[in-house]
């Protein structure tokens, strides 16, 4: 029962945030230069005054602002995100077509960055006073300061252009009719570079977080007790320190995971990865505002889903938080 009310309150909060984002979106459309009818007419390649007037009437642009907001919200509730005149397709169809590729990329990057980040941070904490520990933290600082898109380009330069090990761009080999496992392997090969380069920045973040969290847990009394009763240091690191240090990292990682969707715009642009990030770049190039704002809404939706998921999992996993809530 408590779980149900917890999930219900999270859902309510998520709906409110989405509503606020839609209202923000609506006002952003009106902030764009020229009124939306002019923009749409421009996108459709028409300058005829009658056509623009028709558009205004058809989309209710001759009505008051609150009425327009109402129509916009009602449209979204029926899953109508408008029409992209440049791509001659409804915005929703365009996004849904590209969404799986982005989920695959960000999901892979998330797993890589969290896995490697935790291991690296753990090693750095255990060797805090040795050169190898400093080396890990130095590398983390370096990746933390490197532009995402530039790492991606350098990886292409080294691993595709110079070494020729991995494909430089795309989702699968063009013209290949492989199916099943062969196709999956082909996609995996194309995924390695984008997922790793997108994950590097976040790996650096998780490495620093894991190290800090482990060092602060190591100061607590129960660790001293474990040490005093003579447990092996490796056992203390794994069973006592790491387990307790991981919980806050998982929550923070959940919060950060959503930001990966934003980073995916850069990675997908460099690797011509056919996801919503690449779609956002195309929308930018063509000044396709309907599509741009639709994608923005979906990015925010993904962030909220990620956050809710980690929040609920975390609360279910750690009984202490339930008592406090």
């Amino acid at each position: 029962m408590r779980y149900l009310s917890l999930i219900a309150s999270r859902l309510l909060k998520a709906v409110l945030v989405l509503l606020a984002i839609l209202i923000l979106n609506f006002f952003l459309i009106h902030l764009a230069p020229g009124d939306p009818a002019m923009v749409m007419a421009g996108e459709a390649g028409a300058t005829d005054a009658q056509f623009i007037a028709d558009l205004r009437e058809r989309f209710g642009l001759d009505q008051s602002l609150p009425m327009q907001l109402w129509h916009y919200l009602a449209g979204v509730l029926t899953l109508d995100f408008g029409y992209s005149y440049r791509q001659q397709m409804p915005v929703l169809d365009l996004i849904l077509e590209r969404l799986p590729a982005t989920l695959l990329l960000t999901g892979a990057a998330f797993v890589i960055s969290l896995g490697c980040g935790i291991v690296a941070g753990m090693l750095a904490a255990m060797r805090a006073k040795r050169p190898s520990g400093s080396l890990i933290m130095g590398l983390a600082l370096l990746f933390y300061a490197t532009p995402l898109y530039w790492v991606a380009m350098m990886a292409v330069l080294v691993f595709s252009v110079f070494l020729g090990w991995l494909p430089a761009y795309g989702y699968d080999t063009v013209g290949s009719d492989a199916t099943g496992l062969a196709h999956a392997l082909d996609v995996a090969e194309h995924l390695i570079l984008p997922a790793t380069t997108l994950g590097l920045f976040f790996m650096a973040v998780y490495t620093r977080m894991t190290r800090a969290s482990m060092l602060s847990v190591a100061q607590q009394d129960f660790v001293k007790t474990a040490r005093a009763k003579g447990l092996a240091p490796g056992m203390i690191q794994r069973r006592h320190i790491l387990r307790n240090a991981l919980l806050p990292i998982i929550t923070l990682a959940g919060l950060q995971a959503g930001q990966m969707v934003g980073g995916a715009v850069l990675t997908e642009t460099v690797f011509a990865w056919p996801g919503i990030g690449r779609l956002m770049y195309e929308a930018l190039m063509q000044r396709d505002y309907n599509l741009l704002l639709g994608i923005f809404f979906f990015c925010a939706l993904l962030v909220i889903l990620f956050n809710m998921l980690t929040d609920v999992i975390y609360r279910l996993a750690d009984p202490r938080i339930k008592e406090a809530a």
Partner: protein, 277 residues
């Protein structure tokens, strides 16, 4: 030990400070060293670094002097980095101060707004804002500030919460100081050191954001920037790899330097914490 001596003892922070000073010098000297526009074509395109005297870093796809582009780009990166951080502080500090000082419903409302802005994916919002306001230095600064103020507000709020019931604040209240004096003269000055540390790290993030925006073609069309240079070099990566490597290294060094300085400031301003680590 004084703040300055603690800072100087940190080797990383010192290296960062030196790199940063060099970049600032480059930015300040750009109009003197290269008084002409960096957009001007000066030689044949695709000149490799060192191939011709007078063009130490070569020329790009349009025959522009890469060294001139780099110098003028330094100016834009630093300008956008510092100004957008100042704007973010101007939004975040007052909101955090009011939320922390007054608490209750003010705190609720302000923190809901802050959380909302923290939920929205930063980079996606910055892209949308710049695209809709049309790319210019002003819109880029504003967009970066809009996506980076929430951590400031949260930090300042936390500091205010922990400071507002301290004895010296209560004493000032008893003497009859009003809310304005208590906030501005008693509490705010004591929140400065964590805010300075956060601000130095925010400049680094802002420079990364600016370069990412101009890489995507959302830079100010009138100013040369490092991100634009990398974006323009992307299609010729196979023929002229140095065109993307040079500006990339410049961004990396600048951001790294700012992070090192930020960490050094953190250690120097909070010696107790530094010893624990």
């Amino acid at each position: 030990m004084s703040f300055f001596r603690r800072f100087v003892q940190n080797r990383g922070a010192l290296v960062g400070l030196v790199i940063l000073a060099l970049v600032v010098l480059l930015a300040l000297l750009a109009p003197l060293l290269y008084p002409e526009s960096p957009w001007r074509m000066v030689q044949r395109p695709f000149l490799a670094p060192g191939e011709l005297p007078g063009f130490p870093l070569g020329t790009d796809t349009m025959g522009r002097d890469v060294a001139a582009e780099l110098a003028h780009g330094a100016w834009v990166s630093l300008l956008v980095g510092f100004v957008s951080t100042l704007v973010a502080l101007a939004i975040g500090v007052p909101l955090g101060a009011l939320a922390g000082y007054f608490g209750g419903r003010t705190d609720d409302v302000l923190m809901r707004i802050t959380e909302f802005f923290q939920t929205i994916p930063n980079f996606a919002l910055a892209i949308v804002l710049v695209a809709i306001m049309e790319p210019s230095i002003g819109s880029i600064v504003l967009a970066i500030a809009v996506v980076s103020w929430p951590p400031v507000a949260r930090l300042v709020r936390g500091e205010f919460l922990s400071l507002k019931h301290r004895e010296y604040v209560e004493a000032a209240r008893l003497v009859g100081q009003g809310h304005r004096d208590l906030i501005l003269k008693q509490i705010l000055p004591n929140t400065l050191s964590p805010v300075i540390v956060l601000a130095s790290l925010m400049v680094a993030t802002a420079i990364l954001l600016e370069s990412s925006l101009s890489f995507l073609g959302l830079g100010d069309p009138d100013t040369m920037s490092w991100g634009y240079m990398i974006g323009a070099a992307r299609t010729v990566m196979r023929q002229a790899w140095w065109l993307s490597v040079i500006p990339g290294v410049a961004i990396l060094l600048t951001v790294l330097a700012l992070n090192l300085v930020g960490e050094g400031l953190d250690d120097a301003l909070n010696p107790q914490l530094a010893r624990q680590r």
